[in-house]
């Protein structure tokens, strides 16, 4: 499904701020895989997501998605196949536009946009149904501006938008990190539900080790731009947070001193 071969990315090369974000990274993702990605700050998790989404160009290597080489495609071209939810709830939606307008935009992801009216009556019905299942009461506020929603509501909406047209690949970049624990759980449950229901191939960056273990069928740990641990199936289910910490110390030779991850 997704194949990343020897991909490297260095930010600010040749300066004192040089930062090797990805270092000859290889990853093969099977169809239907739900992979959680963990790692310390600066491990390259977000860079990996951004490289796949095409936010920045990669320095070398190739990325295949669904058999197509997308290495040189622009972000908006890849969007046809990729649904995304960002860490910042503000990034996934247009604040000054109505909920239904945002959904209508998402319902045209990767399609040609012409001079047809931006939203059809039939779509409104579909959106009403889809919003109902979020259980947030948004179906009765479809003409409200998204800027009036809370962070959690916006993330749930963004998740719905990202999966409204079934994406070949869903990228979730710490999409619950900015939410309070209860809302985060709700959004995460919803994520699980949608991904399982549509059998979506998903990459999810998280800083919560518990979530990383319990969710999905495969777990990847990154360190300094490389994948240092890759586990799936039964073995993953048996993992404990302490195992992950040990694994990290083993691979990196440092202590895993990251409060955010310990607290998870």
């Amino acid at each position: 499904m997704l194949q990343i071969k020897n991909v490297s990315k260095t930010f600010n090369p040749g300066t004192v701020n040089e930062k090797k974000a990805l270092d000859r990274l290889n990853l093969h993702v099977e169809e239907g895989d739900f992979i959680t990605i963990i790692g310390g700050n600066g491990a390259g998790k977000s860079t990996l997501m951004n490289m796949v989404a095409g936010v920045y160009p990669i320095d070398c290597g190739t990325i295949y998605l669904d058999g197509k080489n997308i290495s040189l495609q622009a972000e908006y071209q890849r969007a046809q196949m990729i649904g995304r939810v960002f860490q910042d709830p503000m990034l996934g939606t247009a604040a000054d536009m109505a909920i239904q307008e945002n959904l209508a935009m998402a319902n045209r992801r990767g399609k040609k946009r012409g001079l047809k009216w931006g939203i059809t009556p039939k779509e409104k019905e579909i959106f009403h149904e889809q919003l109902k299942r979020l259980g947030l009461g948004l179906e009765d506020r479809m003409t409200s501006k998204v800027g009036l929603l809370s962070g959690g509501q916006r993330q749930a909406l963004t998740l719905l938008m990202a999966t409204l047209i079934k994406p070949k690949l869903l990228l979730l970049d710490e999409h619950t990190a900015a939410l309070d624990p209860r809302t985060a759980k709700k959004v995460l449950d919803l994520t699980n539900e949608i991904v399982n229901e549509q059998n979506l191939t998903t990459l999810m960056v998280t800083h919560n080790m518990q979530d990383a273990i319990h969710i999905g069928n495969r777990l990847i740990m990154m360190h300094e731009g490389k994948i240092i641990y890759d586990v799936k199936g039964e073995e993953k289910k048996q993992l404990k947070v302490s195992d992950l910490l040990k694994k990290f110390e083993e691979a990196s030779g440092e202590e895993f001193a990251n409060d955010r991850m310990m607290l998870g």
Partner: protein, 304 residues
């Protein structure tokens, strides 16, 4: 009597210049870009129109050609901004400065008098026998209504929605598969097309085109937008907002007419406009602060 005539003049001027303000609104509020191409493209509209009239082109066709010239000016700014990644303000300034020379080239001189040539207003005047002020008003209103209806329709379409969204959240729009370079350039083109159309209408109405006629247009456009917003608020429906800008433009002209009647020197007009815009932009912020403060006093005072 003088003041009545001045008001009538202000009304028709406000409507003709209101089209320019609508153009500024598209970039300033919808795309969230401060596009300084305006001063150049307004004069480009005038220059193209003048050359057309001198060469016997139909006045309505002259308006259309001027609009197309505006599209091109907007496209240049769009390419400079998106493809060359020049910051929007600088891209606009570059086009504006470049257009000054181009406008001189188009006209072959800095001022083209057009009094002896037919224009849309004189044609309607002959046809109906109405006074010139009425004719300007009627044509101005018809064009403005057509433009507002067209904008309302366009920004409701799929592509128009993505232009609006681009000014809101570029990152999201790209993630939803839209090339934001295209949406930004389209917005700039439509904006400058309207501005050039306004410049062409003003040229036909005043009977000459001048290479300097666009100087300060951006500030007049901003003045119209903020006056409209101060009166009608920020939040109304799209059609209301567009209408409020034209009303804002008319009010601006009335203010100008009043202060000129009161004996203000025309040379000081630009300073007055700049001050007006600064005040109109400041008022909502000061009012918000005041509201916050009085609420705080009210609520905290109660707890004592």
């Amino acid at each position: 009597m003088g003041i009545v005539l001045a008001m009538q003049g202000a009304l028709s001027q406000g409507i003709l210049w209101g089209l320019m303000a609508l153009g500024v609104y598209i970039t300033f509020r919808l795309l969230d870009i401060a596009d300084l191409t305006v001063d150049g493209s307004f004069a480009t509209g005038g220059a193209v129109c003048a050359v057309c009239l001198v060469n016997g082109v139909n006045p309505i066709l002259a308006l259309i050609l001027s609009t197309i010239a505006g599209f091109i000016a907007g496209w240049i700014t769009g390419v400079l901004h998106t493809k060359c990644q020049i910051p929007a303000i600088l891209a606009g300034i570059l086009t504006q400065i470049g257009l000054y020379s181009i406008n001189l080239r188009i006209m072959g001189r800095s001022n083209t008098p057009l009094l002896q040539y037919d224009n849309v207003f004189s044609q309607l005047e002959e046809l109906t026998g109405l006074s010139s002020n009425w004719v300007v008003l009627i044509i101005g209103l018809i064009v403005t209504i057509l433009v507002i209806v067209a904008l309302y329709w366009y920004f409701g379409t799929e592509i128009g929605s993505s232009i609006r969204a681009t000014g809101n959240n570029e990152q999201m729009v790209r993630a939803l598969g839209v090339n934001t370079n295209v949406t930004k350039t389209l917005g700039l083109m439509i904006s400058n097309g309207l501005i050039a159309l306004s410049g062409a209408l003003v040229t036909q109405q005043q009977g000459y085109a001048d290479v300097r006629m666009g100087i300060g247009a951006i500030v007049i456009g901003l003045a119209s937008i903020v006056i409209g917003e101060v009166i009608f608020g920020h939040k109304g429906a799209f059609g209301t907002r567009l209408t409020s800008i034209v009303v804002g433009s008319v009010i601006y002209r009335i203010i100008v007419a009043v202060v000129l009647q009161m004996g203000l020197n025309t040379d000081d007009l630009k300073l007055l406009t700049a001050i007006l815009v600064a005040i109109a932009l400041t008022v909502p912020i000061v009012m918000n602060k005041q509201k916050q403060l009085s609420m705080y006093k009210k609520l905290t005072g109660k707890e004592k």
